[in-house]
Amino acid sequence: MTFSLTYPFTEEQVIPLTAGTMVTLDGLVFTGRDRLHKFLHDGGKSPVNLRDGAIYHCGPVVIGDERRWHVVAAGPTTSSREEPYMAAIIERHGVRVIIGKGGMGAATREACQKFGCVYLQAVGGAAVAIAQCITAVRGVHFLQEFGATEAMWELNVKGFEAVVTMDAFGRSLHDEVADASRQELDKLLGREK
């Protein structure tokens, strides 16, 4: 069963989603990675309204120029690097959806629960397939300051597939897999309690 999410990603759409649910996204997403997260966390002003929006942890391969941008490849980057910043950004900006890979830590999980946000995992490395879902580049911010890879791209997507791995109920599939695999590791290394 796949759930369809459409921008703006309202509380009503997002909160009921439980970990393990497959979703497809339609509408607007904003890319952001290390530079943008630090900037917003440190009090920088967002050039766009992020309320009920989605931040996509991604540094795309983009060719072309202001007249016509073309996204060639746009898979997710590792989200855990944004862990020091994410919770504050969710709280301050009302971000409703985070898309990335690898999951995030306790602070983000708690912020998802408290402010009604979900974390979606896209398939790492599936960069061309995801780029096919981008129907338009609506704009770009911080291109000069951060460079093309770290810039904030405004993308229209259609049918962008992902899995809910951290829900608004405080459940994280990443934590569950880490715990279960830890037990297997202990067995393999002969250090069972």
């Binding site: 540094g59 746009a74 855990s80 096919q132 297997e184």
Partner: protein, 292 residues
């Protein structure tokens, strides 16, 4: 600049970035058969679809086109400086064509070096050999997998790992556990036992150029490779860390001499998009055959 070298190296970069080696693709296909959960199957299916699309559209398999690392095997008398210049020219052109991301930043300012050419970038390692032709391999390893690569110094009391094969095994399984899905599992481990800290990473990365179906020449390392692969796949981390039967696609171990005081185990974790291709060429750059 030699036009022949530019053409040969551009084609090497295109193949490496946009066309996953056949053995890796087959390993992904095989692991799809082993998976039972919907998420693991959907994840592997998406990877395989992406591989086909990337090949078809001549687009980078992954947007993180990595640290391009050229391993050159050159005859005596070949001009390494000229070849390195050729590599820099080809990298800049491949970036313009969208086969590589603008992936090079000044370390402190974070300013983008838009053509991917800078001090020490791309990386070029040269080995002179008794040969007539040139063989050059290119490895594109992304930052996510580089970030989970690691180095242990044995003995390690926290892992109960001593200076023996059991100790090495404990390090490797610990590294795979710590990586979870962050390095884009199912991954490949390139491993160096011994050497010094710097040499350990160089040798570990070189192991990633080996085909998935080969085995270490030393029998005890070949046994360890198989054992760690089997054990790692019991961890249940699975494709992209969302649980499943496929956590690693391969383990490649080499041993190198060390000083008595040190016993390093160095792990280069490679993501599923294990991008490695080679080419054999004449010294003037005329392509003889593509490898890998």
């Amino acid at each position: 600049m030699s036009e022949l070298w530019t053409q040969t190296l551009l084609e090497l970069i295109r193949r490496t970035s946009c066309d996953l080696p056949t053995d890796v693709e087959q390993a992904l296909r095989k692991s799809l058969e082993a998976e039972t959960s919907d998420t693991a199957r959907a994840t592997l299916t998406a990877m395989l679809e992406n591989v086909a699309l990337a090949r078809d559209r001549e687009a980078p398999i992954c947007q993180d086109t990595g640290t391009p690392t050229f391993s050159w095997h050159i005859p005596r008398g070949a001009d390494a400086m000229a070849l390195e210049k050729q590599a820099r020219t080809a990298i800049a052109e491949a970036t313009r064509r969208g086969w590589l991301r603008r992936n090079t930043l000044e370390a402190l300012s974070g300013k983008s070096q838009d053509d991917n050419v800078a001090e020490g970038t791309p990386v070029c390692h040269f080995v002179q050999e008794d040969r007539e032709d040139v063989v050059v391999w290119l490895l594109q390893k992304g930052g996510g997998s580089e970030n989970v690569s690691t180095q242990y110094s044995l003995p390690d009391a926290s892992l109960n790992a001593g200076r023996d094969l059991e100790g090495v095994r404990a390090c490797l399984l610990d590294a795979v556990w710590k990586a979870q899905g962050h390095g884009c599992a199912p991954g490949v481990l390139g491993v160096c036992v011994g050497s010094d800290r710097a040499g350990g990473f160089t040798v570990a990365k070189e192991q990633l150029l080996r085909p998935l179906d080969d085995r270490a020449a030393e029998p005890e390392l070949a046994v360890l490779e198989e054992r760690v692969l089997r054990d790692a796949n019991k961890l249940g981390i699975g494709p992209m860390g969302l649980s499943g039967a496929t956590t690693l696609l391969g383990v490649k171990i080499a041993a190198r001499p060390r000083v008595p005081a040190s016993f390093f185990v160095t792990v280069a974790y490679m993501c599923w998009a294990c991008r490695r291709r080679g080419v054999r060429a004449q010294t003037d750059g005329k392509m003889i055959e593509f490898l890998g």
